[in-house]
């Protein structure tokens, strides 16, 4: 399997869209490209499963890029990256499908919409960045893709968004760039220490063998972790998320919460904790505290939201707290849980945003209390909404349960009181989650129909059904058959963190 395909396909799709004039053609190409990408990702998964001993990087590929700096185009995958790649390609397909009619977007803001060509280009560019980030093993290459995945968000939100879109877009991009600035400093710090050690390198594998002193680790870790933490909406750097998500167009919200936030979690795990295990261990109590605050506080804030998009945005903050928590708990199981949670939340939140977007396009309001009884008029969307909600609150059979439980069980492997209390606090959020999800379902979908005009709203169109269907299938597969993925990830975790982690 040639891994570069994963970067090439979306990139070539971008070029192809650039060449066509017609918006209708553009979306077809985008869809084809994203399906090709999904196929490639699945093929990669199967070939990995066939060959894998589960430990080493597979399909490695390394080309010298800038010999002077020892920068290599070095890519490779293991189970964690495969999980992320799969997630990204699924969300990509769904995102393209959801944006099928972006040309005549019917949101209440008449200024948004149009320009389908540009929209798909940006979307695929963003995906290219995400794919590249997940499969690269060289910090420089990784950072390159990381930043590549940030800027398109600005335009996506600012052009096609709604509400306070310009403010939100700017805030989002600046905060994310602030995070990436911290990451950059961390990466450069690594480079500096590797230079001092006589072997300048950006390579993750080489850096992991670099024995850094305690002080060096303690210096680098917060930069990298907080930097990536901004992306995964770690408290208190999460405030871009509610604004950004709620203003973004549907597909962008899906990408933002489904993929971008995972960039952060993946980076925390793959770069910060992998390279700096000792510092990670020392900092872990603080991170755990932040994660717990994020989880519970995010959940409580969610309770108070009227805007259901905002609600899901805040719930993402809460859910991504589990990722951070799982990583910081420092047991293999918890880390596996963190990865599962990333995948699960990615798919789930994408589904949620997708269905919220579809409802918004019809009802022209995102305020939960202005809706009501929508289940009656659009049973399909209503059911999907409920499925997403149930996934979010961790119902068995859906992916959220698997991920959250793995995090909890893993976290609880720490025998001391602090970790235990933290775990219990985190578990407490499942109640709050249930409250806000049911509240949203209750006010928006159930109850009597509030407005006359709602009665004639159409249910989902084919593209929407397909998009939701793909995501639901992904959720159910993960939820009912998690073992193949979790075993793979467990093995990878063992290889990556075997020494450092319980």
């Amino acid at each position: 399997m040639n891994l570069s395909l994963l970067i090439l396909i979306p990139f070539l799709t971008v070029l192809a869209i650039l060449l066509v004039k017609d918006g209708k053609m553009a979306r077809v190409i985008a869809l084809a490209g994203s399906f090709a990408q999904l196929a490639a990702a699945l093929f990669m998964l199967f070939s990995y499963m066939k060959l894998h001993d589960g430990s080493r990087l597979a399909f490695e590929e390394s080309h010298v890029w800038f010999a002077q700096w020892n920068i290599n185009y070095h890519i490779g995958v293991d189970a964690i990256s495969i999980a992320m790649v799969l997630l990204t390609s699924v969300v990509l397909v769904a995102g393209v499908l959801v944006s099928w009619n972006i040309e005549k977007s019917t949101t209440s803001d008449p200024s948004s919409g149009g320009q389908p060509k540009e929209f798909f280009i940006l979307l695929l560019l963003l995906a290219t960045g995400a794919f590249g980030f997940f499969i690269s093993v060289d910090l420089f290459t990784q950072f390159f893709f990381f930043e590549l995945a940030v800027i398109p968000k600005y335009l996506l939100i600012a052009i096609w968004g709604s509400g306070k879109k310009e403010y939100a877009a700017m805030k989002l991009v600046l905060m994310l760039m602030g995070g990436s600035a911290m990451v950059l400093i961390g990466i450069l710090g690594f480079y500096h220490f590797s230079v001092a050690a006589g072997t300048p390198t950006f390579d993750l594998l080489a850096l992991s063998k670099l024995s850094l002193t305690h002080n060096q680790q303690m210096f680098l870790f917060p930069l990298l972790f907080a930097g990536f933490g901004v992306l995964s909406a770690m408290f208190p750097f999460h405030t871009w998320a509610p604004d950004g998500h709620s203003s973004a167009p549907t597909a962008a919200s899906m990408f933002l919460a489904g993929i971008s936030m995972k960039l952060g979690g993946y980076g925390c795990l793959r770069v910060a904790v992998y390279l700096l295990p000792d510092a990670a261990r020392e900092y872990s109590p603080y991170i755990i505290i932040l994660a717990c605050i994020g989880i519970l506080y995010g959940a409580f804030v969610t309770l108070k939201q009227r805007d259901i998009k905002m609600m899901n945005a805040y719930s993402s903050v809460s859910h991504c707290g589990f990722v951070i928590l799982g990583i910081a708990m420092f047991t293999k199981t918890a880390m596996v849980g963190a990865v599962l949670q990333m995948v699960s939340h990615g798919v789930m939140t994408a589904l949620f945003f997708a269905v919220i977007g579809m409802i918004y396009e019809r009802s022209h309001t995102r305020m939960g209390d202005e809706m009501g009884g929508l289940m009656k008029v659009m049973p399909f969307l209503g059911s999907v909404f409920i499925i997403a909600g149930l996934t979010s609150l961790g119902l068995p059979g859906f992916s959220g349960f698997v991920a959250e439980m793995t995090v909890f069980v893993g976290s609880f492997q720490n025998a001391d009181l602090f970790h235990r209390v933290a775990t219990i606090i985190a578990t407490a959020s499942i109640v709050v989650t249930a409250v806000y999800i049911l509240r949203a379902v209750g006010i928006a979908l159930w109850g009597p129909i509030k407005k006359i005009e709602f009665e004639k709203l159409p249910d989902a169109a084919w593209n929407e059904k397909l998009a939701a269907g793909i995501l639901v299938v992904a959720i159910v597969i993960l939820g009912t058959m998690p073992f193949w993925l979790s075993d793979m990830i467990y093995k990878t975790t063992e290889t990556l963190f075997g020494m450092a982690v319980k």
């Binding site: 600046l174 760039m177 600035a181 710090g189 001092a196």
Partner: protein
């Protein structure tokens, strides 16, 4: 040494001088010459200049060490010549309408000759002469928009502050002469002693003089006004060529003459670099005139460039070259867009760019690429340029400076995005209409865009630059 040898060594200077003389002859004898013929001739000769520069590898010194040439210096000259060529192409349509286009070329070629000499100088006397030659005619060029009072004002500010700056520089030079007894680079380097406070004072004054040319905070204040006032071609020249040439000789001077005091100037430059990035950014945030905005952004870019200078390593120097090349393309590209818009509509405010994408999509896309390159966003080359500078800083251990630099990258993104937002997002009742772009500008734009999008992936260019770089 044969005459041929001299000419080979001084090919840039000689050819440029030849063109100047030709132009003067044209001016004297055939006033009515067709403008486009002359412009074409000049552009062609610039291309020729670039072309012949790749023949052979001249190196050596002449005139008792006053003139030096080697591959690195050739490279530096090539870089600024390339920039001049781009600017010349970009300015084509403006110059065609301008009554004194001949004088413009005479002056700008004299300026570039001054720069050649400055870069090649092996002696502070030559350096000073080159510097002045690169300044005085430029000041008159800054006043070349005869109709705009701002142009004259910018030029006045420039000439007066540069006079003051060169007085300070000269004062430093005189002290340096007093303490080391020579003006020759090598001799000064031999005689330079760290223990002498007076020599350090001279170094500081010299730094201030250089800093003025590179527009480093707090010696930068003339920059914005002059940039805004000058014709766009001159502004881009000031922001790219002028800055680049000064930076090149600055590096040479620091590495080859003041290498002994590297700790001193490194620390000083760390401060200046941090200040420059930050203040430049803070200024740029609130600008409404796009030229002025680009001026401030170029100030903060200078701060990044200094990182590479500070490291004193050959990789650092290579990064400076690399960034400089990228910066040339990005900045000239941006100025070309500004110039096209301003030529056709006379508008220079950021607000005028609102909704530009609707009417001029290609132009806006190009400007976006340039701005992202300036901001250091992948996949544009600016990302690589900035990262390499920072990586070189990292290998030298300038962590504190890098922290400031990365934070500044965030701030700078804010204001670059402001323009992108204006073009792509903001709605405008009356956006600029779709206008025709002249072919020269189109060529410059396409060329710059292609270079910016591909340069980062052509790793051999950086390898080439590195092979020509040297450190302390």
């Amino acid at each position: 040494m044969s005459l041929l040898n001299y000419i080979s060594m001084m090919r840039f200077e000689a050819l440029a001088l030849g063109v100047v003389i030709m132009l003067l002859l044209v001016k004297v004898f055939s006033e009515k010459m067709n403008a486009s013929v002359v412009l074409g001739f000049v552009n062609l000769s610039l291309v020729a200049l670039l072309g012949i520069s790749f023949v052979g590898h001249p190196h050596g010194t002449a005139f008792g060490g006053m003139f030096r040439i080697d591959s690195t210096l050739m490279l530096e000259k090539q870089i600024i010549t390339l920039a001049l060529l781009l600017i010349s192409l970009q300015a084509n349509s403006w110059l065609k309408k301008h009554s004194s286009y001949l004088e413009f070329y005479v002056l700008i070629l004299s300026v570039i000759i001054g720069m050649y000499f400055m870069i090649s100088s092996g002696n502070f006397l030559m350096f000073y002469l080159g510097l002045e030659m690169a300044t005085i005619p430029l000041a008159s060029l800054a006043a070349f928009d005869f109709d705009r009072i701002k142009s004259a004002e910018g030029a006045g500010k420039m000439i007066l502050s540069s006079a003051f700056s060169s007085a300070i520089l000269l004062f430093g030079l005189s002290i340096l002469y007093g303490t080391t007894g020579s003006l020759d680079f090598n001799r000064v380097a031999e005689n330079f002693s760290l223990t002498s406070h007076l020599e350090l004072l001279a170094l500081a004054f010299l730094l201030a003089g250089f800093a003025f040319k590179i527009s480093v905070v707090p010696f930068h204040l003339w920059t914005a006004d002059t940039y805004e006032g000058s014709p766009i071609a001159v502004t881009s020249f000031l922001s790219v060529v002028s800055k680049g040439a000064a930076l090149f000789i600055f590096m040479t001077a620091l590495y080859q003459v003041f290498g002994a005091a590297h700790e001193k100037w490194m620390n000083a430059l760390v401060l200046l670099s941090a200040l420059t990035m930050t203040i430049g950014n803070l200024f740029a945030m609130r600008q409404s005139n796009i030229k002025r905005f680009l001026a401030f952004s170029s100030i903060s870019q200078a701060g990044y460039l200094l990182i590479g200078v500070i490291t004193g390593s050959s990789l650092g120097m290579a990064s400076v070259f690399y960034f400089m090349i990228i910066y040339i393309f990005s900045n000239i590209g941006a100025f070309t867009v500004v110039s096209v818009v301003s030529e056709n509509t006379g508008k220079e405010n950021i607000d005028d760019y609102k909704g530009l994408y609707k009417t001029n999509p290609m132009l806006s896309l190009a400007l976006m690429v340039f701005l992202f390159s300036l901001a250091g966003i992948p996949p544009t080359a600016g990302f690589f340029g900035k990262l390499f500078l920072m990586t070189s800083g990292a290998s030298a251990g300038l962590i504190a400076l890098l922290i400031i630099a990365s934070l500044n990258m965030v701030i700078s993104l804010y204001y670059y995005l402001r323009i992108v937002k204006a073009m792509f997002v903001d709605k405008n009742e009356s956006p600029l209409e779709d206008f025709a772009k002249d072919n020269y500008s189109k060529f410059v734009l396409i060329f710059c865009v292609i270079v910016i999008l591909t340069l980062g992936f052509c790793n051999y260019i950086f390898g080439y630059l590195q092979s020509l770089s040297f450190g302390l």
